[in-house]
Point group: C2
Chain length 232, copies 2
């Protein structure tokens, strides 16, 4: 019996790519710069998993996503030969606090919240997730971040720590995510699993994940479909 739903956020709840591309375009316009901003956005995002892995392997002490994002950004700007002030970089880096939800996210979460406890379970830091939710109207019951456990997903500590904070057995907690690897790790930790397809996460023209062999507890097309399937 599932009592609580924990949501991956980047890509699952919010469309990071469209939001970041729009912020980069505005940044470029303000400086009179022309670049391939969608490519810049993809490289910014691509730097994120290797940076977390350095933390996970202990090569880097615990570091928040905000700071990982900023370090990647500084390097990308440098490579692109773009000069910006510290405060311009700070402001651009906070674009990750201003990501827009997918069109079904708020409506689906609002329905799901009527029947389940709904929380984030994201590698994003708590202030990022809180600022994002406030701006986007995401109706979380609480905001749980890998930062609270100092363990990034897919470390088991993140999934088990979330269940522990909610004071429920892992089996009563279901992870909702658009990423099979996250769901597989959640399942290994004893959580339920709900895959939600987000075929546009990486932009148009990408082949969607094939999850037919994964046998997740639920496979949904969006959060409204998830609410239908979960009886909310």
């Amino acid at each position: 019996m599932v009592r609580a739903l924990a949501f991956d956020v980047f890509g699952t709840v919010v469309d990071w790519r469209s939001s970041i591309v729009a912020e980069l375009e505005a940044f470029g316009e303000s400086l009179g710069l022309h670049r391939d901003w969608p490519d810049f956005a993809d490289r910014w995002r691509a730097g994120y998993a290797p940076a977390m892995d350095r933390v996970r392997r202990g090569e880097l002490r615990w570091t928040r996503i905000d700071d990982l994002h900023r370090a990647i950004l500084v390097e990308l700007l440098d490579t692109a030969g773009i000069r910006a002030t510290e405060s311009e970089i700070d402001e651009l880096n906070r674009a990750w606090h201003r990501l827009d939800p997918w069109p079904d996210s708020v409506a689906g979460l609002t329905r799901l919240k009527s029947r389940y406890l709904v929380t984030t379970l994201s590698n994003g830091n708590l202030s990022l997730l809180t600022n994002m939710a406030k701006r986007a109207g995401l109706p979380w019951d609480c905001v749980i971040s890998a930062e609270l456990f100092r363990h990034y997903k897919p470390d088991p500590e993140a999934y088990l720590g979330c269940a522990d904070l909610l004071d429920i057995p892992p089996a009563e907690l279901m992870l909702v995510a658009a990423h099979p690897s996250d769901l597989r790790a959640a399942r290994a930790a004893g959580l339920g699993t709900a895959y939600v397809a987000r075929p546009l996460e990486f932009g148009p023209g990408h082949v969607p994940h094939d999850v037919s062999d994964d046998h997740f507890d639920i496979t949904a097309t969006d959060f409204v479909d998830l609410a239908d399937q979960l009886g909310a």
Copy 2:
């Protein structure tokens, strides 16, 4: 410049005493017992500070409020000669998850949320605070508990940890509380302070706190007055 408000919860946001007395009366009725339930409620609450102090002094390893509440309850039931099953005790103990807000709390918080980030900063554990908010409709932006720092207020780690999670300087965070001792500790940690009078917290006939010499940044009669004074 204050950007976020952190709220003490028991007594400040919710009327624990009326709620607990009502739950104890229902519990008594279900077992056909007659006792002085207001007195029982006061003794339950009175056991809480000494229990936290044992954790703070290191005599007891980190223990959640839910578990402290339960240990106190078991002792009180025993002293009163009341026999109950484990599941009856669990259910009664979760009365602390079902506390009702003061009449102005939801309206005031809703206004304050429009201008400030609003979070709990309570010694209650995260699941307690989350379940309470869900039931009572408390519109927190996030739920922060002493549990996340394994330091109960008034330890400075709780106040500073809250500012750190929100990624703001302590001076941009204001504690809202009905208890002068909590506010004094917050001020010592560098936070702003807003005292809200809750003269009925301990029932009728109690002398309200005299805070005239404390010079807190704000003194308010309730959350609506607080919203007025904070321009929300």
